[in-house]
């Protein structure tokens, strides 16, 4: 099967200091991938290169065989969506407005069509935000905001969802709720999901593939069971940790001991 993303010897730096140092990898359609690694490892940077948000890279990044840097923002936005850690809106847009922004890459008319309205409604129902549609975004709680942002991303009707620590500011309940939605999208709609996270336990529970980044390189890539070993945890995160099997059989979890 043709990979969704084909990354070959990817190098990138914001300044002269390199952040990504020669990453090579393929991502297949309908994968659920978690990117883990210490702060400053290059996880978010890598994700933004995939999303076409950082374009001055060296090496090649192809989306279905086409270099990402050669695709317009609009072309990319019709097929992939990006969810940041946090979103601040400067004007009092409502949740409905935010979700409708996701229809922008598909819209050819000035105002929303019926199809736009249907897609937005569907996205809000999937993320349980339909009841919030008239609320002002900036007045929502963190969990509600992140679900509204996810609804906006889903309104783009994407094949790929790229998420940058989407649950970092959410409480436990909302973290699980958020990842449950991602799991459903992956299982029911074969949506490809690549999510950056610091929570390796959450990642191990939901993702099928885990990639550890350190120093701008992929240092481990495989199933969460393969990646989360005491040896890896020591090398990647510089922690000593015990690894256990989850009682429900869904992967492993770790407990840092030092």
């Amino acid at each position: 099967m043709e990979p969704i993303f084909h990354v070959d010897r990817l190098n990138f730096g914001y300044t002269h200091t390199p952040v990504l140092q020669g990453i090579t990898a393929d991502f297949a359609p309908s994968e659920f991938v978690a990117l883990v690694g210490p702060n400053g490892a290059g996880k978010s940077t890598f994700l933004k290169v995939l999303a076409g948000l950082l374009r001055g890279y060296k090496g090649s990044v192809e989306f279905y065989g086409q270099p990402v840097a050669e695709l317009s923002s609009r072309d990319l936005a019709r097929r992939m969506a990006f969810v940041p850690q946090e979103t601040h809106m400067v004007f009092p847009f409502t949740v409905k407005d935010i979700v409708m922004m996701g229809r922008l890459p598909h819209r050819t008319a000035l105002f929303d069509t019926r199809r736009d309205a249907e897609r937005a409604q569907e996205a809000m129902e999937l993320t349980d935000t339909a009841g919030l549609s008239k609320k002002v975004f900036s007045e929502l709680s963190g969990g509600e905001r992140q679900r509204a942002v996810l609804a906006s991303a889903l309104a783009q009707d994407p094949e790929v969802l790229l998420l940058d620590e989407p649950t970092v500011y959410l409480d436990l309940k909302h973290q699980i709720q958020f990842y449950d939605i991602l799991e459903r999208l992956n299982a029911e709609r074969q949506m490809t999901i690549v999510s950056v996270t610091h929570d390796v336990n959450l990642a191990a529970r939901y993702a099928h593939r885990m990639i550890a980044i350190r120093g701008g390189l992929f240092v481990a890539d495989g199933s969460p069971e393969d990646v989360l070993t005491p040896q890896h945890l020591y090398e990647i995160f510089e922690i000593t940790a015990a690894v256990f099997k989850r009682p429900d059989g869904r992967g492993n979890y770790i407990i840092p001991t030092a």
Binding site: G52, S72, L104, P105, R107, F111
Partner: protein, 321 residues
Amino acid sequence: MGPCALLCLVVLLITPWIGSTPVTWRNVIAGVSPDREIFLIARLPRILFGAIAGGALAVAGVLFQAILRNSLATPFTLGISTGSSFGAVVAIWLGLGTVVLGVPFVSLAAFVGAFLTILLVFFIARTRNALPTFTLLLAGVTLNFVFGALIMFIHFAANFTQGYMMTRWTMGSLDTADMNAVMRTAPFVIACLIALIWISGQFNPLAGGEEWAASRGVDVRRLKRTSYFIGSILTGAITAFTGPIGFVDLIVPHAIRLVAGPDHRILIPASFFLGSAFLVLCDTAARTIFAPTEIPVGVITALIGGPFFIVLLRRKRGELW
């Protein structure tokens, strides 16, 4: 948007009949002097120009607030108004009272001043592949101070008559507006308005940040540059004829956002119409309150706008930034 367009229309139909000298429509149609002249030469062009100027300034305000992601941003913030005043003040100082290509030289100098400021701010703020908002604001504020100081210096060095003209110019007024000014600005302003409405949907996701907009398919760099230049030139073209008129660009978009929400597809056209109506009403007040003496319209907009804005600041502080 509908109510704003209607309000604008009503204002345009009523205000030409208001003024220090009573005018009847019978006399105007019959061509009786001086009613006909007062209506067609003194009032109508001024009101039409007021409508174009108010609309253009309000739309420029919307643009700068959108691209700088700050609802307090105005053309003044970026130094454009002060740069334009500087151009005008230099022209007055040098005594260049001539008319070039049908445009008073002072206006031309004001436009050149505005345009050079735009370029200066742009090149100070620009980096290799971005236009960072914060640097843009700082560059604008700094140039405001520099031009402000230069204006004071020239004012100090100028003679009494020139000094008076400079003061009058920097107060902002519509009293020099004639049909020539209308014809020179209207096509350009209307073309800009149509182009901006066409792309208006792209301004919405910019409220969530540049990355947010880019991931929704907006070519952020191009949008920012286009809007920056359109907004600047709109302001420059109007200010060239009127001098700086404050607060229209700040209050009007705010009022629309409060009532109709922040969707730019509505905000841009509605701001144009409300800005037109607002400035024409202020100017009608300016030319009638102390009739037959006129006061500069900039005084009225500031006197209405200042308190209005303070109320907004106190009430909705959370939403402003």
